[in-house]
């Protein structure tokens, strides 16, 4: 069986800090979109989105305190999503 920890309680303060951090990152991503970095803009925006997503995932969704099964299966899902997009480009990028 999965090793199951006790329910973890995340304090209001932590949650509030995460929310503020998310606001800041939203500001940064909007600001960054005004810079002209060419292709880099997309990757930067996605990178910031990934950080925001990780924050939501870790703290709001308690993933930081989950066991192995959930962590690995989540990574597996993201991996499959990555395959879906990237392998399509074997076709699209070389046509």
């Amino acid at each position: 069986m999965e090793n199951q920890q006790e329910q973890h309680i995340i304090g209001y303060k932590t949650l509030l800090n995460v929310l503020l951090l998310l606001f800041v990152l939203t500001g940064i991503t909007v600001g960054a979109s005004y810079l002209d970095l060419g292709q880099l803009n997309v990757w930067l925006a996605l990178f910031i989105a990934a950080i925001k997503g990780t924050l939501v995932l870790f703290f709001f969704m308690h993933m930081k305190y989950e066991g192995r099964a959930l962590r690995w299966s989540f990574l597996g899902t993201i991996f499959f999503l990555f395959i879906m997009i990237s392998f399509t480009f074997w076709d699209v990028a070389f046509r």
């Binding site: 069986m1 099964a69 499959f80 879906m84 392998f87 074997w90 076709d91 699209v92 070389f94």
Partner: protein
């Protein structure tokens, strides 16, 4: 014989007697049986439809199906066989019935969700039937390729919704099984003490869970295109029709592993039992199941070599396709190695398993012919492809389904069937199968395309022969089901362990009681340790 009340005799709640008490049941065994009867119905219907196709093709020219009707019949045959039979056949029937028993627990984790899946499955079937009687059944084939599926006037939207609902049912079943395996295994059972059928179900469930949403969104997009005309796949509006095929096969290729993996699990259960010998390479089989699940999702575009993909993609996907053959081969070698020097007891399930190994190997090897890009271009969309996937899907999953039926029938219903008739039926099906599909390989190599109701004169003799094979096969299938179903009229006569199996389902009564076990089942350290069985049988005279 059994003093324990079986799940058939569960007292019905007030107001819900008889059939009604089954319709509100959350007992995984009853749900499994409800799936079984629905699936047998759909299977036999689709077999008859397939027979009609073959009859039409036996003679050149229009025999009795018009071109349009032929298109609808092969679409219907494909949709029913794929979405209503092969995908749910093993997981939904035997998975539901035996997964909780094999891991020593009393139900799946979400029993109500399980019942919901069954209702979704039935709803999907009903919607598919409705689409028949509205604007004519779609003539797109089960693949619903754009742009035809978006422009044809037949009722694609309804058929697509049916596939969507069926996908949802399959996805929820997968979700249920994964949670059950993670959370409800008997405390004494570690991961590497799980029976191989459970392992393959676990791998299958992950594929069901992660791949099915892709087809869901794809089918939603087809409906959106038909009603709103967004143009995501329409070249005149900047869309790319090949992307539809990418999305479609992103699900549908992993789906063939949804179909075959549990079949491999069944064979891995049956072979050691009748060889009285531990399975060869337990860990290798477990690992190859998971490897198939992963590698199977990397190869989807090998269905699209002639669709206008880039050459790079053809190269990459062809290479990966060869890789995915390795884990399947590992399993085949392990089964054969298990039989080697075993004390083999021939029974109908073992006979069907041996047929499975043979037919599936042919299917798998011709898959390599198709996976090689060069050969594929020659035989793409010919009868060679049709024959190949019938060898894997029917010769593979279909035969595994038959084998599972014969293996677990006494456990599910407590009744043993007639061996002689079972053998005759199996031989008819297998022989008919070979006569049916081998000519199709040749026809395909000669260049006969699939999905046409007519052909050039030189293909007539091959098609004529194939039609005869089909007739034998269909007779065999009906005989097989009649033999099984007729046992329901006699009294229960099967013991709790008629075969000498040692996985947990053989430790309980046949049929099992409501909560599966009346005493704590004894989990073996190694699930295929037959020393006890061999001892028991060497003392007793043969055949109990």
């Amino acid at each position: 014989m059994e003093t324990v009340k079986s799940f058939f005799e569960t007292p019905a709640p007030a107001r819900f007697k008889g059939v009604l008490s089954w319709l509100i049941t959350t007992d995984h065994k009853r749900i499994g049986l409800m799936y079984l009867f629905a699936i047998i119905f759909w299977f036999l219907l689709a077999v008859v439809l397939g027979g009609l196709l073959r009859l039409e093709l036996m003679f050149q020219g229009e025999t009795f199906l018009s071109a349009q009707l032929y298109n609808s019949v092969f679409t219907l045959h494909g949709v029913i066989m794929i979405f209503l039979f092969i995908i749910p056949a093993l997981p939904a029937v035997f998975g539901n019935f035996f997964l909780p028993i094999q891991i020593g627990t009393d139900d799946v984790f979400f029993p109500k969700l399980n019942l919901l899946s069954w209702y979704l499955y039935m709803a999907g079937g009903v919607i598919a039937v409705i689409s028949l009687f509205s604007d004519g059944f779609p003539d797109t084939g089960w693949t619903f390729y754009v742009p035809f599926s978006i422009s044809t006037n037949t009722n694609v939207s309804t058929a697509v919704s049916a596939a969507f609902v069926l996908g949802l049912a399959s996805m929820l079943t997968g979700l249920n099984f994964i949670t059950t395996i993670h959370r409800m295994r008997n405390r004494a059972m570690g991961w590497l003490q799980m029976p191989l059928f459970t392992w393959t179900l676990y791998a299958t469930s992950w594929v069901q869970l992660l791949a099915t949403p892709v087809i869901s969104i794809t089918l939603i997009l087809v409906v959106i295109e038909r009603y709103l005309g967004v143009g995501l796949f329409d070249p005149s509006k900047g869309g790319d029709p090949i992307l539809y095929q990418h999305l479609f096969w992103m699900y549908s290729h992993p789906a063939v592993y949804i179909m075959i993996l549990p079949g491999m699990g069944v064979i891995s259960e049956i072979i050691p039992v009748f060889s009285r010998k531990s399975i060869f390479g337990y860990k290798a089989i477990v690992a190859s199941s998971m490897a198939i699940a992963v590698a199977g999702s990397l190869v989807w575009a090998h269905h699209m070599y002639t669709s206008g993909m880039s050459d790079t993609a053809v190269f990459v996907f062809s290479l990966l396709t060869f890789v995915v053959a390795i884990p399947s081969a590992i399993k085949v070698f392990s089964w054969v190695a298990t039989l080697y020097k075993g004390s083999i007891q021939m029974t109908p399930p073992l006979f069907l398993s041996l047929c499975f190994i043979y037919l599936f190997s042919v299917g798998g090897l011709t898959g390599l012919v198709l996976g090689a890009a060069g050969a594929n271009i020659h035989v793409h969309d010919t009868h060679f492809v049709v024959s190949h996937f019938h060898f894997t899907m029917f010769g593979g999953t279909g035969f595994a389904f038959f084998a599972a039926l014969h293996y677990w029938w006494p456990k599910m219903f407590g009744r043993m069937y007639n061996f002689k008739i079972a053998y005759i039926a199996s031989i008819l099906v297998t022989g008919g199968f070979i006569f049916h599909y081998v000519p199709m390989f040749i026809l395909g190599l000669q260049g006969m395309p699939r999905r046409y109701y007519d052909y050039l004169p030189q293909f007539e003799s091959g098609n004529f022969l194939a039609g005869f094979g089909a007739a034998f096969m269909i007779v065999g299938i009906f005989l097989m089901f009649a033999n099984l179903l007729l046992t329901l009229r006699k009294d229960r006569d099967a013991s709790s362990d008629p075969w000498g199996g040692i996985t947990l389902e053989w430790q309980t009564a046949s049929p099992p009681p409501l909560h599966n076990f009346t005493t704590e089942p004894e989990v073996l350290d190694y699930p295929y340790d037959f020393t006890g069985v061999v001892e028991k049988y060497s003392k007793k005279p043969k055949g109990e």
